[in-house]
């Protein structure tokens, strides 16, 4: 009995003691333990004998059932109704909400804005994160200080970052205009957040500032996991720093890159806070993202049915990425 733990599905502890590269846990589960015949009981009996397990599950299950399962079912129900919180009538409207959504130009625009935001902010924060991680992995002084500097924006609450940057972008007193004019890069103060071509890039820049430190830390962890021997043998073969980077570092960091990419896309498609604080979706809807648009329909126009339909559109867009994330997580996602 004591010796059988290796067969039980609890052998992960042993797996983690292997050397770094091989830490990825196997997806295959060990075969289920055969219950000896005389111990097999009927279902009600087994439920009764394990009743305390259900007790442990109970508080979590209640909350989960109400605020996740029931909410999900209710959300689906809402999409087929015109459900305004200020009107008593909540009629069934069939697929009208979905049809409205497809024909809604502002919705299309919000999708495009969200893709623009994601397509720019995710690669930029990852590229800067990788650059900083590579440089901070070199034998230089003050590495800790540099790391802290790049990580500081991640620790800052996001809302504070958004407020701060809104001020930095201020047309009259903002630091951006002051220094750009002083360096004679621009002649007139730019209205960063109210110019329809500048607003989205401004929000993206702030997001990159806030997110780069995170990519850097994850990349640093990835770099630490690359075995030194690989570099040694490459050096013996006469590979210079550039080809070592190109043929060893970048390929070995692929799992890390995929992880950051998926996580970044999921987070960016749900962008809301900085939009709410910095631009309120303006100017002329140029920064209205999907979640902000949903927020408008739910809590400004009070149409919960249509807003939930918009949320489902986001769900569909996210689905591929969240499924991938879940798979990586279940694989034991060593970064």
């Amino acid at each position: 009995m004591v010796m059988t733990t290796a067969e039980a599905p609890t052998s992960t502890a042993a797996g983690t003691r292997e050397p770094d590269g091989a830490r990825r846990r196997s997806r295959r589960r060990p075969p289920k333990q055969e219950i000896p015949h005389e111990n097999r009981r009927r279902l009600p009996g087994r439920i009764w004998s394990e009743r305390s397990a259900y007790f442990f599950l109970l508080p979590g299950m209640i909350i989960f059932s109400v605020f996740t399962l029931a909410a999900l079912a209710f959300a689906f129900y809402l999409t087929f109704h015109r459900w305004s919180i200020i009107e008593p009538e909540k009629p069934f409207v069939g697929l009208t909400n979905y049809r409205d959504m497809i024909g809604d130009e502002r919705f299309t625009e919000s999708v495009l804005n969200t893709i623009y935001f994601t397509g720019a902010s995710v690669p930029l924060s990852m590229a800067f994160g990788l650059l900083f991680a590579l440089l901070l992995n070199l034998p230089i002084r003050f590495r800790g200080a540099f790391r802290t500097a790049f990580y500081l924006p991640v620790v800052t609450p996001f809302i504070v970052s958004a407020i701060l940057w809104k001020w930095l972008y201020n047309g009259d007193y903002g630091l951006f205009n002051y220094y750009l004019m002083k360096a004679h890069i621009v002649d007139q103060p730019l209205l960063w957040l109210s110019d329809k071509n500048l607003a989205m890039p401004a929000v993206i820049l702030m997001t990159v500032w806030a997110g780069t430190g995170f990519s850097m830390v994850v990349y640093l962890a990835g770099l630490q996991a690359i075995s030194e021997e690989l570099y040694e043998s490459a050096r013996l073969d006469g590979a210079g720093p550039i080809s070592r980077l190109r043929y060893i570092t970048i390929p070995m960091l692929r799992p890390t890159t995929l992880f950051l990419l998926v996580l970044g896309i999921i987070g960016s498609l749900q962008v809301f806070t900085q939009i709410f604080v910095m631009t309120s979706g303006g100017p002329v809807n140029k920064t209205t993202t999907m979640v902000y648009y949903m927020y408008l329909w739910a809590f400004k126009y009070y149409d919960m049915g249509y807003a939930t339909t918009l949320a489902f559109a986001l769900f569909v867009m996210l689905l591929g990425f969240t499924a991938l994330q879940l798979r990586m997580m279940r694989q034991g996602y060593d970064v």
Partner: protein, 329 residues
């Protein structure tokens, strides 16, 4: 068998928060790294670091500046006439005029609300998550795998999908906020601490992480306790929880951080000024175009302090945990 020795062993082999490896020597050999390259590295890193720190440094400086300096044409990196008026106003220190109160002085309450809500969510969620995780990891009961898969599958649903139905559910909680037993008539848990806390006390993600960790607890340990006559709850409290301290700490930190920074949910369900949390208070301050920016900057610095404090205290778990769990800080 010696439970304590086993416990130490488990902690070192734990999947969630592995012991930090001994500091490695930097990758590239020193011989290959000339002074010129070193200089070049600094030339890239130093300006970037300054750019990254500058906004925050300016925020701290501005929080000590009077309004006239904040609104001057030339930005001041060091306050010329340092003042604590922003902080005093925020924390409601000293005598306040009517006008000052109207401008949002005394909004320290936002922080009290945030602290109360974030701590409640952290404590309750850590406990409930651990209970569920224990059942999933260490108990064999009919339906376990189905329920666990259900938990996992819902992790693919973004919060925005359940946000609106949850708003309506919260509004119709029976017997609260003037509601009858059918859950109608009043506002339920809207604009209440219950509404902020209760939906956040379970997290499928937290359960998953803790379960992975608990799988490494040897079954014999629990079996031995069972033979010694310990009750199931006693086993959970005296064996499982202490063995999971590192994992519990890691998830608790992220939960606290997330709850402290949570914005969307409090924004939609809160309406009375004395209940709003710090992020919502600060954001509304800006969106409603209130003008006393010195207060706002002081408030922003105060809102950042707990996060920096948490980061400094738990730095090691933090960076490791972030790398492994992928929870954004």
């Amino acid at each position: 068998m010696s439970g304590v020795v086993d416990g130490v062993d488990i902690r070192q082999a734990a999947p969630v928060v592995p012991e930090p490896r001994p500091a490695k020597k930097p990758k590239e050999g020193n011989t290959q790294f000339s002074t010129r390259q070193k200089l070049l590295t600094y030339l890239v890193l130093a300006p970037m670091a300054i750019l990254f720190v500058a906004p925050f440094a300016w925020l701290v400086s501005a929080s000590f500046q009077p309004m006239s300096e904040i609104f001057s044409a030339v930005p001041h990196w060091l306050p010329e006439n340092p003042t604590l008026s922003g902080y005093k106003g925020f924390l409601d220190v000293g005598h306040l005029t009517q006008a000052q109160q109207g401008q949002g002085h005394g909004d320290w309450r936002w922080f009290a609300n945030s602290a109360f809500v974030a701590l409640s969510i952290t404590v309750l969620q850590t406990f409930f998550n651990a209970m569920c995780a224990y059942a999933f990891a260490k108990r064999k009961f009919p339906g376990r795998d189905v329920i666990f898969l259900l938990f996992l599958a819902t992790m693919m649903v973004p919060g925005q999908v359940t946000l609106i139905p949850n708003y309506l559910i919260i509004q119709h909680i029976p017997f609260f906020g003037g509601n009858d037993w059918m859950g109608s008539g009043g506002h339920g848990w809207l604009d209440s601490y219950y509404g902020l806390i209760v939906p956040g006390v379970v997290s499928a993600f937290g359960i998953f992480l803790l379960r992975q960790y608990m799988l490494s607890i040897p079954d014999q340990l629990l079996e031995a306790a069972r033979i010694d006559g310990a009750s199931e709850f006693r086993i959970f409290r005296s064996i499982v929880l202490p063995l999971c301290t590192p994992a519990l700490a890691a998830t608790a930190i992220f939960t606290f951080q997330g709850a402290w920074e949570d914005f969307f949910w409090p924004l939609v369900i809160l309406s009375s000024p004395e209940k709003i949390t710090a992020p919502v208070g600060l954001a509304l301050f800006v969106v409603q175009n209130r003008t006393s920016w010195t207060l706002l900057f002081a408030g922003s610095v105060i809102a950042t302090l707990p996060m920096i404090l948490v980061f400094i205290v738990f730095q090691r778990q933090f960076v490791k945990g972030i790398a492994l769990t992928g929870v954004k800080g």
